[in-house]
């Protein structure tokens, strides 16, 4: 293995651009996915039969088919209906729609974890539904959904490699193309792997930081954590 070539790949514009595109795909799809998930979770909480049927159908469809299928379907079938998007938009669309289905289940469990009595106590103080949601439900639900959302973040990063099939120049496709020019697969894939691991580490640190900032005011439960603990995300406060 040539360290020189590895270093060259790591610092090359193509790889950097590929990694940036992977990060962008992940963050944007995750953002839209969370938005879709939140709407679906709230729809499931309503009494409307139409809303419930719709969310059931949505979850059934997007959890029941492979993401790869969804990506290829959107990219190849939509144009035949006259709907034309760039490959990047198709990638974001497919990843977001898929992510929304999983996010909605996470948000639903988060909303469910806030006991009805907590809402009632808010109402009894004269708070409106919106204020109860904003000041009581969201902060409590956030604590529940943050760890699984961290999982989804990392999952999405890796899922984004699938969009190489529709020629979006993300990290894996860049590595594959670089290697196919000179057959130096070890170096090219190692470079891509290092970028993936770096991004994953970034997400883990971010998640740990968010979880701790939610708990930051709780002096009694804050304890010093080792770097390994932070990386592994075992930052749950000890049961008192």
């Amino acid at each position: 293995m040539s360290l020189h070539l590895l270093l060259e790949y790591l610092t090359s514009k193509d790889f950097l651009r590929g990694a940036a595109l992977t990060l962008l795909l992940t963050v944007v799809s995750l953002g839209f996915g969370m938005l879709i998930g939140l709407v679906l979770a709230l729809l499931q909480g309503t009494r409307s039969r139409v809303a419930k049927t719709f969310t059931f159908f949505y979850l059934w469809l997007f959890r029941g088919t492979p993401v790869l299928f969804q990506i290829i379907f959107i990219y190849n079938v939509l144009p035949s209906f006259g709907i034309r998007f760039s490959a990047f938009v198709c990638a974001v669309l497919a990843l977001s729609l898929n992510e929304g289905a999983f996010m909605s289940e996470i948000f639903r469990s988060g909303l469910h974890a806030v006991k009805q009595g907590q809402r009632t106590a808010g109402f009894a103080l004269g708070m409106t539904r919106a204020k109860v949601f904003r000041h009581i439900v969201v902060p409590q639900a956030l604590r529940v959904v943050l760890p699984p959302i961290g999982n989804q973040m990392i999952g999405m990063l890796k899922l984004s490699a699938l969009v190489s099939v529709i020629a979006v120049q993300e990290l894996l496709l860049v590595a594959d193309q670089a290697a196919s020019a000179n057959f130096r697969y070890l170096e090219a894939l190692s470079a891509a792997g290092i970028y993936y691991l770096a991004l994953t580490t970034l997400f883990m640190v971010l998640q740990g930081w968010m979880e701790r900032s939610l708990d930051s005011k709780r002096k009694s439960s804050t304890r010093r954590m080792s770097f390994a603990e932070r990386l592994l995300g075992t930052s749950q406060p000890l049961v008192r």
Partner: protein, 249 residues
């Protein structure tokens, strides 16, 4: 303690409430004068808690009127949050907001509902915490407080909205016996200071000490309304006396 002569602050007139085919409240009537403390007793399932929840519109009544401070609350469905700002409620399970410290629990409603500044809300909360003798536990979170302490914070939280009446829904039923009195003491003090209170409880000691009137409910009906003296000096009502004998062993 009230003189009993002033016009009622709260007047419940023949309210009905059903869940499906089960009638929970049957034509219940009740009058509460300003500064008066009324204790509602009765076997479980007699509709006591539902009656309280109807008053601050957590439940809708099927028929009847609730007159509070000159307004008919049964017509205030659109502005129910405004009504509730004037009615404090304390729950059996405390229901302190688990993500907020004791002082933040008390500050939340004044800040978000009344628009009080963080600074003023904090001052108010500390005064109220002193009142319930928990000033030194201001920064503790609910799961770091004992049940009795949590309930006292919950009382302070309700008082922060400066309610005209306090509703207590079995405030000591979920407490260990040794913590009951610290909560009842706070409630009795508030009553003595003239806070209009409606208390659903099985604590007859409290009723004897703090209540002006006792209301006995059974199977969704208000069976009896008597002054505390009448009730404890041997009520003549057969069913009420049997109930009293049962819970006093």
């Amino acid at each position: 303690m009230s003189t009993g002569a002033s016009p009622p602050l709260l007047k419940i007139h023949r309210i009905d409430k059903s869940y499906g085919s089960t009638r929970i409240l049957k034509s219940c009537s009740l009058e509460v004068a300003p500064r008066e403390t009324i204790v509602i007793v009765g076997p479980s399932g007699s509709g006591k808690s539902t009656l309280l929840r109807c008053i601050n519109l957590l439940e809708t009544v099927d028929a009847g009127n609730i007159l509070f401070d000159g307004r008919d609350l049964t017509r205030e469905r659109k502005a129910e949050h405004l009504v509730r700002q004037q009615i404090g409620m304390v729950f059996q399970n405390f229901e302190l907001f688990s993500h907020l410290s004791a002082v933040e629990n008390i500050m939340l409603a004044p800040m978000t509902v009344s628009g009080v500044s963080r600074h003023d809300a904090h001052d108010l909360a500390m005064v109220l915490l002193s009142k319930v003798r928990l000033r030194e536990r201001a920064d503790a979170y609910p799961d770091e407080l004992s049940g009795g302490q949590q309930q006292r914070v919950a009382i302070a939280r309700a008082l922060a909205m400066k309610p005209k009446v306090m509703l207590y829904d079995e405030p000591t039923s979920a407490l260990d016996p040794e913590m009951v009195s610290e909560v009842l003491d706070v409630m009795a003090e508030l009553s003595a200071e003239g806070m209009t209170s409606l208390v659903v409880t099985h604590e007859m000691g409290f009723a004897r000490r703090a209540a002006d009137k006792i209301v006995f409910m059974d199977a969704g009906e208000v069976i009896l309304t008597e002054t505390s003296e009448q009730f404890f000096s041997g009520t003549t009502h057969e069913r009420a006396r049997r109930f009293l004998d049962q819970i006093l062993h």
